[in-house]
């Protein structure tokens, strides 16, 4: 952690000739937290254009001063910038307190390249604005693939869910400006409600080491932060416009920031994205258009000692779902799998028809913090989220324009965190969290509820500690306890209630018998303990190792408990289980990082053992009037995941860089001795990049993305009777698609349009050779190829 403190001495003006300039100023620098003297700080006296140093007691002396104003600029490694000015009236003695814990504070830092890490010993990777800007027209899931070991599970290419080391959905925690996203994230076709254009910096933390954010992040934590507040009078912003050939899409995003030196700030950001049907090399993917509208507002006051922030964000996504993936029964699925092309292809259009999703997410938060001398910092935060999800199916008659799924999820969260950092050797943090959540499933859909109405209550308490054992060793440890209570009102078909055996195990929860349906009131309490411990050891100036152990537990989500119904694009009936218990993960990880001027090499390994791992498995076949359907149950087993991620970069010359990112992950069901489903296959990305700062920061890069065929997969194939042909056929839903190799091109230049403004022009070509492929982790792979070549031109104006 390196940081310079710059104190600015404004005016030491010797006014008046007849004055005596014989006064002495005695200064004493000390740490705000613990009062220890700041030794060897650089003090710049502006008027004299001269530097002096503080002595061993943090003291310094300026002699021969005249009466008048004096302003000093103080610089010290590891300290916050401090500006002080005084009115000299004779000899003076002043003590000046500076902030020596810059990592906590970089949000008020003046220097722009500070990286704020969320953790000390976890496997954390940070993506900054300069990387994220390439993804302005795309989405969070695509951007995170910049991190080795992060892939995505997709439904088409607009619904992209991040996957960390093979884990996704409820096993990841996503934080948007310190608010844990609550947006029905259990659903595999529910993309995170994040506008990538509102993110300035994203941290990806593998595993559950960041206990402050939750104890159930079995896969990992994604922390999305908006732009930092700058403590000076300034107005700046940026506008990004882009167009792309595939989907004939365009995107415009703009942000404006106004900051004041007294700490007040206001940010406004908005974005609009639209595209029509995407195209594979051979055909149009009908009904894959989407449009997205995002807006966010942030304001507050940030000073060293206290501050507050209010934040509001709005995001609406309307996403068309590939028409050919909406099928009626298993025979339709067999037809789709056997057909080389989708069975529904129409001309390109921007129109979004059914099936589609229309999701609106509101997030509002208010945060306050105060710093106490010789103690630490207290944060209080309240946030409210409202997630409205509509899903429209292809329906008939009067129901044609009626949503088939209409869920409103409202969440109130209160958090309080205290950071004790008055001792420089250790830092202690503890916090409390209280959350109330209500889900309302609108019965007007005329379709039985997929997820019932429920109230959910969560209370969490945690503490984490960081301890600097010596100059090269940092230790951290944390504990967390969470209590979850879910109180649902759910209708079961009487026949299903008996078939599941619930009439014997849960007779007490039936509150009303409507003949063919039963109204039940399941209430479940879960107690979850989580912990983490880690060490970071600096081997020498060029390398370090980290090791981490984390224990986390996750209670079943509403879908795992209550799912009950037919899943259209999968042609299967999915059933939750009221008997599920929490799953518990024990994860160990180790990393080695070597770096010098030209090289950066990072290797990360992990082993994650998950007891009572919840997953979906085929259970049998049920006959309905639509035909036969496989039934998939949520079950629990003991599972293990392990893998290695490599990220390497080497500067061959000053202008040529090569890099590699590779990731291998394996997952096994230990009890049944077979692989887990949906584990990302081995993939490796190699890039070569040429940069020349003299040519308007010109850069050009070519990258190759090679994804292997997944050889480890569970065989869930089944036989079905095809009545029309009077025969049994094998339905191959398991075999992964072949390996594929894609080439991508990216080039950019930045033109200075004035002292303070510049124009960045980027051109990317994804899938240069228009390669035809299907991805194992795309749920629509049974129906259509992935998208072909896409040329994106993007202009970003920074002002």
């Amino acid at each position: 952690m390196k940081q310079l403190i710059t104190a600015i001495v404004i005016a030491f003006s010797c006014l008046g000739y007849g004055q005596d300039c014989t006064y002495t100023f005695l200064g004493e620098l000390s740490d705000f937290h613990d009062g220890t003297p700041i030794v060897s700080a650089t003090i710049y006296i502006k008027e004299r254009d001269k530097y002096i140093l503080s002595d061993f007691d943090g003291k310094f002396k300026i002699e021969d001063l005249c009466n008048g104003a004096l302003t000093l600029t103080i610089t010290h490694v590891g300290c916050e910038t401090k500006t002080v000015s005084f009115e000299i009236k004779g000899d003076m003695h002043k003590s000046i307190q500076v902030e020596h814990h810059i990592e906590e504070l970089n949000e008020v830092s003046v220097i722009g390249n500070t990286i704020k890490r969320e953790t000390k010993t976890a496997q954390e990777t940070i993506l900054k604005a300069n990387t994220l800007k390439k993804y302005s027209a795309l989405n969070l899931g695509e951007a995170l693939k910049e991190v080795s070991g992060v892939s995505s599970i997709n439904t088409g290419n607009s619904i992209v869910k991040p996957m960390i080391n093979g884990m996704h959905s409820s096993r990841l925690v996503i934080l948007n400006n310190n608010v844990r996203l609550q947006d029905q994230e259990w659903g595999i076709e529910h993309a995170p409600n994040i506008d990538i254009n509102s993110a300035e910096q994203i941290s990806v933390i593998k595993g559950s080491g960041a206990l402050a954010y939750g104890g159930d992040a079995i896969g990992g934590v994604i922390v999305i932060n908006p732009s930092r507040v700058i403590l000076k009078d300034t107005l700046f912003g940026k506008t990004t416009i882009s167009g792309q050939t595939n989907g004939r899409g365009f995107n415009i995003s703009s942000s404006l920031n106004k900051n004041y030196s007294n700490g007040w700030f206001i940010n406004v950001q908005g974005s609009f994205k639209m595209n029509g049907d995407f195209e594979t090399p051979d055909y149009v993917l009908s009904n894959t258009g989407s449009n997205s509208k995002g807006f966010s507002f942030r304001s507050g006051k940030k000073t060293f000692e206290s501050g507050f922030e209010v934040f509001y964000s709005y995001l609406n996504n309307e996403i068309g779902i590939l028409r050919a993936s909406h099928i009626g029964n298993v025979q339709d699925l067999v037809n789709a799998i056997n057909s080389k092309e989708p069975l529904y292809i129409k001309d390109f259009t921007y129109d979004i028809n059914y099936p589609k999703q229309d999701v609106t997410h509101h997030l509002a938060k208010a945060m306050y913090y105060k710093r106490f001398k010789n103690f630490g910092k207290l944060y209080l935060q309240y946030d409210y989220q409202n997630n409205q999800r509509f899903e429209f199916d292809v329906r008939v008659g009067d129901d044609r324009d009626k949503a088939a799924l209409d869920l409103k999820l409202q969440t109130h969260t209160f958090t309080s965190d205290v950071i004790l950092d008055s001792n420089s050797d250790y830092k202690l943090k503890f916090g409390l969290m209280g959350r109330y959540q209500n889900n309302f499933a609108n019965p007007d859909t005329g379709v039985r509820r997929l997820i019932p109405d429920y109230d959910k209550y969560d209370v969490g308490i945690y503490t984490t500690a960081e301890y600097n054992l010596n100059e090269s060793t940092t230790l951290d440890i944390g504990f967390r306890y969470d209590f979850n209570r879910i109180d649902a009102k759910k209708f079961y078909q009487s026949s299903r209630w008996e078939e599941r055996g619930y009439d014997e195990d849960f007779p007490d929860i039936v509150i009303e018998d409507l003949g063919t349906q039963l109204l039940t009131n399941p209430v479940f309490n879960f107690h979850n303990f989580s912990a983490s411990a880690g060490i970071k050891y600096q081997l020498n100036d060029n390398s370090f190792i980290i090791g981490n152990y984390s224990l986390s537990s996750r209670p079943p989500n509403p879908s795992e408990l209550f799912s009950d119904g037919l899943h259209h694009s999968a042609a299967r009936i999915e059933l939750g289980d009221l008997r599920l218990s929490k799953e518990v993960s024990n994860r160990i990880s180790a990393s080695y990082n070597y770096y010098n001027d030209k090289t950066n090499f990072l290797i990360e390994g992990f082993y994650n053992r998950i007891n009572d791992f919840m997953y979906l498995e085929p259970f049998g076949i049920e006959q309905t009037i639509r035909g036969a359907f496989p039934v998939w149950n949520y079950l629990q087993t003991d599972a293990e995941l392990y893998g290695i991620d490599i990220s390497a970069s080497y500067d061959i010359t000053n202008s040529i860089n090569i890099s590699n990112k590779s990731s291998y992950t394996a997952g096994n069901d230990i009890e049944n001795d077979r692989p887990l489903i949906d584990i990302p296959p081995f993939n490796t990305r190699n890039s070569i990049k040429y940069t020349n700062a003299d040519w308007n920061k010109f850069s050009v890069s070519l990258s190759s993305e090679w994804t292997f065929e997944q050889a480890q997969y569970p065989d869930n194939n089944f036989e079905t009777y095809i009545a029309a042909n009077d025969e049994y056929v094998l339905v191959d839903i398991s075999t992964p698609p072949s390996a594929f190799h894609l080439l991508h091109f990216y080039s950019e230049m930045t033109f200075n349009t004035s002292n303070k403004t510049n124009l960045n022009v980027g051109l990317s070509v994804n899938n240069i050779f228009d390669t035809k492929y299907r991805s194992y982790l795309n749920r629509l792979r049974y129906f259509a190829d992935d998208i072909g070549r896409n040329i994106i031109l993007q202009i970003q104006f920074n002002y």
């Binding site: 909406h326 099928i327 009626g328 025979q331 339709d332 037809n335 069975l343 529904y344 106490f372 103690f375 207290l378 209080l380 309240y382 292809v394 329906r395 008939v396 008659g397 009067d398 129901d399 109130h412 209160f414 309080s416 205290v418 409390l432 209280g434 109330y436 499933a441 019965p443 859909t445 005329g446 379709v447 039985r448 019932p452 109405d453 109230d455 209550y457 009102k489 209708f491 078909q493 009487s494 026949s495 299903r496 078939e499 509150i511 009303e512 409507l514 063919t516 349906q517 109204l519 037919l566 049920e622 006959q623 309905t624 009037i625 639509r626 035909g627 359907f629 009545a723 029309a724 009077d726």
Partner: protein, 191 residues
């Protein structure tokens, strides 16, 4: 100093917790309304009336719990007579609603988006011809003519209702694409 600050945070924390408590207690305890599925087809009935009069033959598949675990109950009222022309009318009902909703009306209203397909096993010798069309002159399949073959036992007839099939098509449920709303197989004898 530390205790004072801790107390301060605890006090604020408790206040906010009380607010959360208020929000919680405001949530209503009313029971949710049940959903009666609106567009589920629970029952398919094909009534075959022999040309020149006689007893109707009724083929029925009824699945009263929709996508629930119970299999549909399939019944055939009797054997067909050999080499006979039957006038057939199909009916789709949602018997989860009371009174039962006649989905056949919706199928006929949106005839251009629907088609009923009939297929026999090869040895049955029976055939079906369409006796109705949609607005574009393509077959719909609510009204049909069925010609029975020679006397034989254990024949199968599969009836498939497709939503948004390709129209016109090759006359088979598989070739027409679209999505299957109903699929039922009947075993019948011809005497």
């Amino acid at each position: 100093m530390k205790t004072i600050n801790t107390k301060l945070s605890m006090k604020k924390f408790l206040i906010l917790f009380m607010i959360i408590g208020l929000i919680t207690s405001c949530s209503d305890d009313d029971n949710p309304d049940p959903v009666n599925e609106e567009e589920v087809i629970t029952t398919l009935t094909l009534t075959l009336s022999p040309q020149g009069g006689g007893t109707d033959i009724v083929l029925r598949s009824r699945d009263t719990d929709g996508d629930g675990p119970n299999a549909p109950v399939v019944t055939v009222s009797g054997a067909l007579s050999a080499s006979t022309l039957y006038f057939g009318v199909i009916e789709f009902l949602n018997e989860l609603e009371n009174p039962a909703e006649d989905i056949t009306l919706e199928v006929m209203e949106e005839a251009d988006e629907h088609q009923v397909f009939y297929s026999f096993n090869e040895s049955s010798g029976s055939t079906v011809t369409y006796d109705d069309t949609d607005g574009d002159g393509n077959p719909l399949g609510v009204d049909i003519n069925l010609s029975s073959g020679d006397a034989s036992a254990g024949n199968t007839l599969t009836i498939t209702l497709k939503h948004e099939p390709t129209k016109p098509n090759d006359g088979t449920a598989i070739g027409a694409g679209g999505e299957t709303d109903v699929e039922a197989s009947f075993t019948f004898d011809v005497n």
